[in-house]
């Protein structure tokens, strides 16, 4: 009982319950057919949302107005860079991944440079940056060898007993992110800045460095995500990251992280990502048209946000 009570008090539990409900609704509809396959598919797809979601979560936790809108463009460019560097050869996989990581990290650092040097809100800084990145990607990606090396594509699609290996690695990564957030000086500094940037500064937190690190981290995660996506879908294209703008923000908020900053939640990102992916699967299974699917996705996101509610501002 105590366990149930303490669990119900945690916001992230609800995202998992939501995912479970959607999954049950789907398998009741199909009469139990494909229940396991659906979990496998959901895990493989949720991975990509979780990776960018964690980056976005750190950024959003920095406080009101902090958000990384350049992730879709970043994912697109990094996927092209990774595929180009790998050039279809298995021996270059690691180099390609590092290139995507570096590309993403550079984008993140440039984002913070714009925010810091021009003192403009992060929304508009990352937005302007994403315009430029998008153009670079369109121009760079033209006529490019966009197929991943076979080894990398196999790795991205590799499953052990129906569990995607990428999902296992991502769970390990999120555990690391949770530890970094709650137990390391970096994470505690991010939370402190989100709660009160001035107090954090007075307490001796190097605000500039932590913010730079956070935007760079978000960018780097976007970069690695792009490379993995290109591997999973066996090819890179400019629009590959488009859906991750909404998804990355939505999983953070549905997962119980405060948009006002200073309060983050790592497990919730997983729950929310699974919820969103399963929701899409459910709507596809029901055979609804594209219009109805978009409509219901939007309504459910608004509904979930409304039900979860925003907390009253502390001021």
């Amino acid at each position: 009982m105590i366990l149930v009570k303490s669990l119900a008090g945690k916001p992230w539990v609800w995202s998992f319950i939501g995912a479970l409900v959607v999954w049950l609704a789907t398998i009741i509809f199909t009469g139990g057919y494909g229940a396991g396959g659906m979990v496998t598919a959901a895990l493989s797809l949720a991975v990509f949302t979780v990776i960018v979601g964690v980056g976005q979560m750190f950024v959003i936790t920095l406080g009101p107005g902090n958000v990384d809108l350049s992730l879709p463009a970043n994912i697109g460019l990094a996927s092209a860079v990774a595929m180009k560097v790998m050039g279809g050869s298995d021996s270059m996989i690691i180099v390609g991944l590092l290139a995507a990581l570096a590309c993403g990290a550079a984008i993140g650092a440039v984002n913070y440079l714009l925010i810091w040097a021009l003192r403009i809100p992060p929304i508009i800084a990352t937005l302007s940056a994403s315009f430029i990145i998008q153009s670079i990607d369109i121009s760079y990606g033209r006529g490019l060898q966009i197929k991943p090396p076979p080894g990398f594509a196999d790795f991205a699609n590799w499953q052990i007993l129906g569990v995607p290996v990428l999902a296992i690695l991502t769970v390990l990564f999120t555990v690391g992110a949770a530890i970094a957030l709650q137990r390391m000086i970096y994470g505690r500094s991010v939370l402190a800045i989100g709660q009160n940037i001035r107090a954090a500064w007075l307490a001796g937190v190097n605000v500039g460095r932590i913010r730079l690190l956070t935007y760079t981290l978000s960018g780097a995660l976007g970069g690695i995500d792009g490379a993995l996506l290109a591997g999973y879908f066996r090819g890179a294209n400019v629009d590959i990251g488009n859906e991750y703008l909404l998804a990355s923000i939505a999983v953070v908020v549905i997962g119980g992280t405060s948009v006002a900053g200073g309060k983050a939640n790592v497990p919730g990102v997983w729950g929310a990502a699974l919820f969103l992916v399963l929701l899409l699967t459910m709507l596809n299974t029901f055979g609804v048209s594209a219009g109805v699917r978009l409509l219901l996705t939007g309504l459910i996101i608004v509904g979930v946000i409304t039900a979860a509610g925003g907390e009253k501002a502390a001021r």
Binding site: I120, L127, S139, I197, L246, I249, G291, V302, T306, G310
Partner: protein, 325 residues
């Protein structure tokens, strides 16, 4: 952090410098438009003509209207990420029901403004992050648009086509329309007493609440106005393109935010400028394609040029703001 603090203990000479910096800051949107115009005139003198402007500013009216819609939302310290798909939805309704069943079409459009008002109420009452709510709504509008018009097509009502192809003497229609939009909204928001309250709801909500004004009502009004101008934008767009497509407005979300910021608006504090927003929208409309075409910039880089223009203008603003303090 970026909001300049107002210090009352400044000496008169300092205050003079401050006023000059403020003026310069206020003129910045017009200045950036002038620079873009000069660049176009220099690259292609023939573009500076009645016909040239009519052509170059073709899409400026819907962009300006969408920017004004976004401006109302930003005035209340919120952000609307759904305005682009909303414009697309309105476009689809305009090209189908508004032509075939005008009464039903009008009711749907009024209803969609009502939904915007409800969103404002919801965001205020449940204290929700507007970014997420409107991101969700962007899916709703796009879904509805696809349901209304599954394939590109439809046709604009004749009266709308007639309005949008109006050719006044001497001054091209887009310029007159932009002036009118800017002046009307400027008067409403900057010169009426309730306009002050609306801006105050973004500037200092706590003070406004203590003074007895309903923040719920201001938010509803701001969102309803955003909906209204979104509807106007979608209708104007269809009046120009003559037919619709569910994705026709998608680019407007970011264009509108950029237009507000270019026009001197700020994300927090209720600091917005309707005339600036219209000028920002014109600058973007001109910079987006005519200027780049004349500069022989390949289409690949046109999006980047938009980003670069934003960054340059913001950098100029920082230089001016430094003097302001």
């Amino acid at each position: 952090m970026t909001v300049a603090s107002v210090d009352t203990s400044k000496s008169s000479s300092e205050r003079g410098a401050l006023a000059r910096a403020r003026l310069l800051r206020g003129l910045l949107p017009a200045l950036s438009l002038a620079i873009v115009l000069i660049a176009i005139a220099w690259l292609n003198p023939r573009a500076i003509s009645y016909f040239g402007f009519s052509l170059m500013l073709n899409l400026a009216i819907p962009i300006a209207l969408a920017t004004i819609a976004q401006m109302f939302v930003i005035a209340g310290n919120e952000l609307d990420l759904s305005i682009g798909t909303f414009v697309g939805f309105v476009g689809c309704v305009t090209a189908t029901w508004l032509k075939d069943a005008p009464l039903l079409g009008v009711l749907i459009l009024l209803g969609s403004i009502g939904i915007y008002a409800l969103l404002g109420a919801l965001i205020h009452l449940r204290n929700l992050p507007s970014i997420v709510v409107t991101l969700g709504m962007s899916f709703v509008w796009q879904g509805l648009a696809i349901l209304v018009l599954p394939k590109p097509g439809g046709k604009a009502p004749d009266w709308l086509l007639a309005i949008m192809s109006f050719k006044p003497p001497f001054v091209p229609f887009p310029i007159i329309a932009a002036l009118l939009i800017g002046l009307i909204v400027h008067f409403g928001l900057m010169r009426t007493s309730y306009g002050v309250i609306l801006r105050g709801s973004g500037g200092n909500p706590a003070a406004l609440k203590r003074a007895g004004w309903s923040l719920l009502k201001t938010k509803i009004v701001l969102f309803a106005l955003a909906g209204l101008f979104g509807v106007l934008s979608g209708m104007a767009l269809i009046g120009i393109t003559t037919s619709a497509d569910a994705n026709i407005g998608n680019g407007y979300t970011l264009l509108a935010i950029a237009g507000v910021i270019l026009g001197g608006g700020e994300f927090v504090g209720g600091r917005v400028s309707p005339i600036g927003a219209v000028i920002g929208a014109l600058t973007l409309a001109l910079a987006a394609s005519p200027l780049l075409t004349f500069m022989h910039i390949p289409p690949d880089w046109q999006v980047a040029a938009n980003g670069a223009i934003l960054i340059i203008v913001l950098a100029a603003r920082v230089l001016i703001s430094r003097r302001e303090r």
